[in-house]
């Protein structure tokens, strides 16, 4: 009796499984036809395409060259190269950002750098067409030429 019962249960389970796979069969497919729809914007905010350092209209960024992102990067992808400069207001020497080098070729997109930045100076964009023919093209300098540190708004 148990034998027959288990057979019937087996048949019922099998029909359940086939029902599920049929649902998948008729579900509309979401695959993107990539080279054909080039230029279409993929609206995925969370996608990590490329690391950028946003600059405002006065060519100012928020990076204080603290180097925390460089220390947190497991792959040595980021190099924060700073320089010393005399601050006119206080007359003291101050560390400012010279070059922020990001090697796209060794980044694993773990986002530890973005999470750990205390100034929220770097972020991700959706740009994903990274293929190049030579490796040096993958070394990106993220701060723009002649950019400076954004002045903190005074808290009232």
């Amino acid at each position: 009796m148990n034998h027959i019962k288990s057979i019937l249960i087996g048949i019922w389970r099998m029909m359940q499984g086939m029902y599920i796979s049929m649902l998948n069969f008729i579900r509309p497919k979401v695959t993107e036809q990539y080279p054909e729809n080039r230029g279409k914007v993929f609206p995925h905010e969370r996608m990590r395409g490329q690391l950028v350092m946003p600059h405002n209209e006065n060519n100012e960024h928020k990076c204080t060259a603290c180097g925390i992102c460089q220390m947190n990067c497991p792959n040595g992808t980021i190099q924060v190269i700073s320089k010393k400069e005399l601050d006119e207001e206080t007359g003291k020497e101050k560390k400012i950002l010279d070059r922020y080098i990001y090697d796209l070729g060794s980044c694993t997109y773990c986002s530890l750098c973005v999470e750990s930045c205390p100034q929220d100076a770097i972020e991700w964009t959706n740009e994903f067409e990274h293929a190049t023919f030579t490796r040096p093209k993958l070394y990106n300098k993220l701060n723009k030429e002649g950019s400076t540190l954004m002045k903190k708004e005074k808290k009232n």
Binding site: M14, G17, M18, S21, F25, K29, V30, T31
Partner: protein
């Protein structure tokens, strides 16, 4: 109803008016051989394409879509690729058996293919023991598989071949018993006769519950005989790389591949011939106008429609179920399918006597 018989008869008469009987027959044999090989190859290409598309859809993908519109020429491109591949000589393999194995597998499948009635008069061999012939010839393939596993001098192929032997020989039983049930119902083994008999009700309707059970059992057992998915132990790629055809390359591998797909088609074709009426359109006794409309659809289309329906069922199961373990596989056959089949034969006898 247009039958292909007209064309074949016309060719026959045409040849006989110009040639002596012997030459006419000879030319007909050659023509039939070429036609069977051509249809075999084309069907294999179509099936490979269908399989890849259906499998993709079950996995929420799109499948081949680059070569030609909707990837239609994909399998043709694959065929060309496989034809120009090198045949690798296996070190310390048994070269003669190694080469023979691939041919055995494909010859068994072509021989079975020849006996399938595509339409009235579109059937290469029509014995009065047709069902018996189908079973006998299709089981020849297992010899090829065993040889392939043995001669490749490789443990994976050996294990694959042994599994395949155990599996095919066991499932042959319930396969044969399920077909036997239908032979009981029809009272003949000749395939053309069996199809003729179903002109007013397909066997699956005529035979009632026993026929339905036999149909399901046949589909399961036949599916197991083709060595495909949930029953693909002989070539379980996660355990045995590719099972019995691991060492094959180029067109020899292509033979195994073709035979696998065509066996799927053959199983589906036998199922549709014996249970779903073969090329017979759907006729309902008494509904004359409905029957007339159904007759407008050519029988070849009916045949292929039913067969591809069965193929789709096989693919559906394949992409739903996980692979069985070898003991589960044999349990399924010996403890479940076989007893069901034996009881079913008695049921069918009662059905024939009392209904």
């Amino acid at each position: 109803m247009f039958h292909f018989e007209v064309v074949t008869n016309w060719i026959d008469e045409f040849l006989r008016t110009y040639l002596s009987e012997g030459w006419a027959l000879f030319i007909e044999f050659v023509l039939i051989g070429v036609a069977i090989l051509a249809v075999y190859a084309v069907l294999a290409l179509i099936l490979i394409y269908v399989e890849r598309k259906v499998c993709a859809f079950f996995q929420c993908r799109i499948g081949p879509n680059r070569v030609g519109p909707f990837g239609l020429i994909q399998s043709v491109a694959d065929m060309i690729k496989i034809l120009i591949k090198e045949l690798i000589r296996i070190d310390r393999a048994d070269p003669r058996l190694f080469r023979l194995a691939a041919f055995l597998v494909i010859i068994a499948s072509i021989c079975t293919f020849g006996a399938i009635p595509f339409d009235k008069g579109l059937q290469a061999v029509d014995f009065n023991i047709g069902v018996f012939y189908l079973l006998a010839v299709s089981s020849l393939g297992v010899v090829g598989i065993l040889l392939a596993g043995w001669s490749s001098n490789n443990k994976y192929t050996m294990i694959g071949a042994m599994r395949s032997g155990a599996q095919l020989i066991s499932y042959e039983l319930s396969c044969g018993l399920a077909l036997m049930t239908m032979v009981m119902l029809s009272g003949t083994m000749q395939l053309s006769e069996i199809v003729e008999q179903q002109s007013y009700a397909w066997n699956i309707f005529r035979g009632g519950i026993p026929a339905l059970i036999a149909f399901v059992v046949y589909l399961i057992a036949g599916h197991a005989e083709t060595n495909r998915g949930p029953f693909d132990l002989p070539e379980a790629e996660s355990e045995l790389t590719a099972g019995y055809h691991t060492e094959y390359s180029g067109i020899q591998f292509g033979f195994f591949y073709l035979a696998e797909y065509l066996n799927m088609f053959i199983i589906a074709a036998i199922a549709s011939t014996l249970f779903l009426g073969g090329w017979m359109p759907l006729h309902i006794p008494g509904w004359e106008s409905f029957n007339q409309i159904m007759d407008y659809i050519p029988p070849v289309l009916w045949f292929f429609g039913k067969t591809f329906f069965c193929v789709f069922l096989a693919l559906w199961v394949r992409w739903t179920m996980p692979r069985l373990r070898i003991d589960q596989l044999l349990n399924l056959e010996w403890k479940i399918l076989m007893p069901i089949c034996l009881v079913n034969i008695v049921l069918m006898a009662l059905w024939i006597i009392y209904v």
